[in-house]
């Protein structure tokens, strides 16, 4: 397979199915960014880029694994694997969003200071994993594990190529194709500035989404 042909194929795949990528990421990105503290265009841009960076890292790592293993993994190309990966993606993403919500809402600065004395390691870990920037990266990483049909098609291209370099190019192009669909997210801080109540609504929405991801999209399909 020629490099340029695979790259173009992946780019078009990303462009044609980017709506679905954005639709899947919307429940994570929109409430998280709208509900973040000190919201500004600069911070939103950084958070979105970090989220997208997390996604590309996941994509490339999966691409490398699949391309490296090549046709050895062909027997795993079934809906069961896709479903399992998605279920884990939901649970991890739900936990990250929940942690971020708790850090934002429950652990105010004063209680943080008070709790630091009691258990500094736990508190530092909580703040590290729950701050906006790490949440953006971690949720991006977990979203990358979610298997949707276009992503599955890209993975198959990687396996067919059998080359790690090709895999990186394929996923990079697929990823670039989906990027334009994330541009509207940059308008969120303006909306929140105009209607400050949106921030409270977004934080509550984030909690509901986290609980739904963990229980209804994660644990119930996993256990039953």
């Amino acid at each position: 397979m020629k490099l340029w042909s695979s790259a173009l194929q992946s780019l078009l795949l990303g462009l044609s199915t980017g709506t679905y990528c954005a639709m899947y990421c919307a429940p994570i990105l929109i409430p998280f960014i709208s509900g973040s503290e000190n919201n500004s265009l600069k911070k939103t841009t950084v958070l979105t880029l970090l989220f997208l960076a997390g996604r590309i890292v996941s994509y490339v790592v999966l691409g490398i694994i699949f391309a490296g293993a090549g046709m050895l993994l062909s027997s795993f190309f079934n809906p069961v694997l896709a479903r399992r990966l998605s279920v884990f993606a939901y649970i991890i993403c739900g936990l990250i969003l929940l942690q971020n919500f708790l850090v934002k809402r429950k652990l105010s600065k004063n209680t943080l200071e008070a709790n630091k004395k009691a258990c500094p390691v736990r508190m530092k870990l909580a703040v590290f994993t729950g701050n906006d920037f790490s949440t953006a990266v971690l949720s991006g990483l977990s979203v990358g594990l979610h298997i949707c049909p276009p992503f599955w098609a890209s993975l198959f291209l990687c396996v067919q190529s059998g080359s790690i370099f090709y895999a990186c190019i394929i996923f990079l192009c697929f990823y670039l194709g989906t990027l334009p669909f994330f541009l509207p997210v940059l308008g969120l801080p303006f909306a929140v500035k105009k209607m400050p109540v949106l921030k409270q609504i977004a934080q509550m929405t984030q909690l509901l989404i986290a609980v739904y991801f963990i229980i209804f999209a994660g644990l119930i399909p996993l256990i039953f």
């Binding site: 709506t19 639709m23 429940p27 409270q200 609504i201 509550m204 929405t205 119930i220 256990i223 039953f224």
Partner: protein
């Protein structure tokens, strides 16, 4: 007085056409028609229109449930959704899922609800037309005047004399939660391309149709449906005297609240007359008035006002009024003052002024909606109850 009589005559014609003539002039249609007309007369002529509105909605909700369940038994033999009905897209389209359907449709051109577009009982197109008409006319007034679920909560909230739980200080949080839950449902329906409200959270599954219990997830879902129904439709309305499902969970209600600025009617509070007694806030079943609304002298209820009229009836100072939403803008454009309340000396002008009073116009429009929506369902429900009663009597040998 004469304007009210004219409105009553118009309403009598509407009731005759939709409730009696279209229902084959049956005796039960006449009975229901007479009942509807009686309620309308009481709404116009008594000072407690809200009481009769509540009675209408309660009767409608009960008869709707009887009719809907009866139809399901006639069609499928049970209330459970059959695979055939699901794959043939024969599930009746419910207005609660309109917001969860139109947004994924706009993005993907996929209808995520297994209902027929047209030509079927409660098809998508017919519900959309009703919704669009209601939105531009009575706005969220739909929830208090035409929604066939709302009456159940209205009924239960009227059971206790006094509220056991006072939600007034929490009204703002309730509104925030409602919009958060709405945003959550919308985002999830976009991400999963399915209506997760119907899958897990709809309280009305219990009185309409439900997914049969075939595995543990469907058992969990049924448990959730029952819990949500018990908590939000029965227990909380009794304890709080509020319509808790409508003001906390309902996605349609949240969407109508957001769209209410485009409706033709709104409620305004005269801040000069208002004495901050908070009776309106306590009476509002949708938690649309709170302490901030009154203290900050906003001059109107919050966005989630469902125009039920409870505050209009209870205000001791007559400080709350129904208004046309366009009058202020129009008056400003034309350089007119709305504060002129002198009675017109010209009898004809006075008659037309009375006829087009916003409150009368609203009650007439909203009730017309209620009459049209309820006609066939309520008459059918009544027929089923009467025939069941006659059957029971004949079985008992009376």
């Amino acid at each position: 007085m004469s304007a009210k009589l004219v409105l009553t005559a118009f309403m009598a014609y509407i009731i005759y056409f939709f409730t009696i003539s279209l229902q084959s002039n049956s005796v039960l249609a006449w009975v229901y028609g007479a009942f509807l007309l009686y309620l309308f007369v009481m709404m116009l002529f008594s000072k407690n229109a809200n009481k009769y509105r509540r009675l209408f909605q309660l009767v409608f909700a009960v008869l709707f449930t009887v009719s809907f369940v009866g139809n399901l038994y006639d069609e499928r033999g049970s209330m459970a959704i059959t695979q055939n009905a699901f794959y043939e897209s024969e599930i009746p389209f419910c207005h609660l899922v309109i917001p969860l359907t139109i947004i994924p449709y706009a993005l993907t051109k996929t209808i995520i609800f297994p209902a027929r577009i047209s030509g079927h009982y409660a098809s998508i197109l017919s519900m959309l037309i009703i919704w669009l008409t209601a939105t531009v006319t009575i706005g969220r007034g739909w929830c208090s005047w035409a929604c066939f679920y709302g009456g159940l909560e209205d009924g239960f909230s009227g059971l206790a004399k006094k509220s056991k739980i006072k939600l007034l200080p929490k009204n703002n949080e309730i509104r925030i939660f409602h919009f958060s839950f709405f945003a959550f449902l919308i985002l999830m329906s976009i991400a999963f391309l399915s209506s997760i409200f119907c899958q897990w959270f709809c309280p009305f599954k219990l009185i309409t149709e439900f997914t049969p219990i075939v595995d543990i997830p469907s058992l969990i879902a049924t448990f959730l449906f029952m819990s949500v129904f018990l908590i939000f439709i029965i227990v909380l309305p009794i304890l709080t005297k509020k319509r808790t499902q409508c003001s906390i969970l309902c996605p349609f209600g949240a969407m109508q609240s957001l769209l209410s600025p485009i409706s033709q009617f709104k409620i305004s509070i005269d801040t000069e007359k208002c004495t901050s007694c908070m009776k309106c806030a306590k009476a509002c079943p949708f938690s649309a008035i709170d302490i901030d609304t009154i203290i900050q002298k906003k001059g109107r209820p919050e966005l989630n006002c469902a125009l039920c009229g409870a505050c209009l009836d209870i205000c001791p100072e007559n400080a709350i009024h129904m208004e046309f939403s366009f009058t202020k803008k129009l008056a400003k454009k034309c350089g007119l003052s709305l504060s002129n309340k002198t009675k017109s000396k010209n009898k004809i002008a006075g008659f037309f002024k009375d006829l087009t009073q916003p409150k009368h116009a609203f009650v007439f429009s909203a009730y017309t909606f209620g009459v049209i929506i309820s006609s066939s369902l309520a008459t059918d429900g009544l027929r089923r109850i009467v025939s069941a009663f006659i059957r029971a009597l004949s079985l008992g040998g009376i």
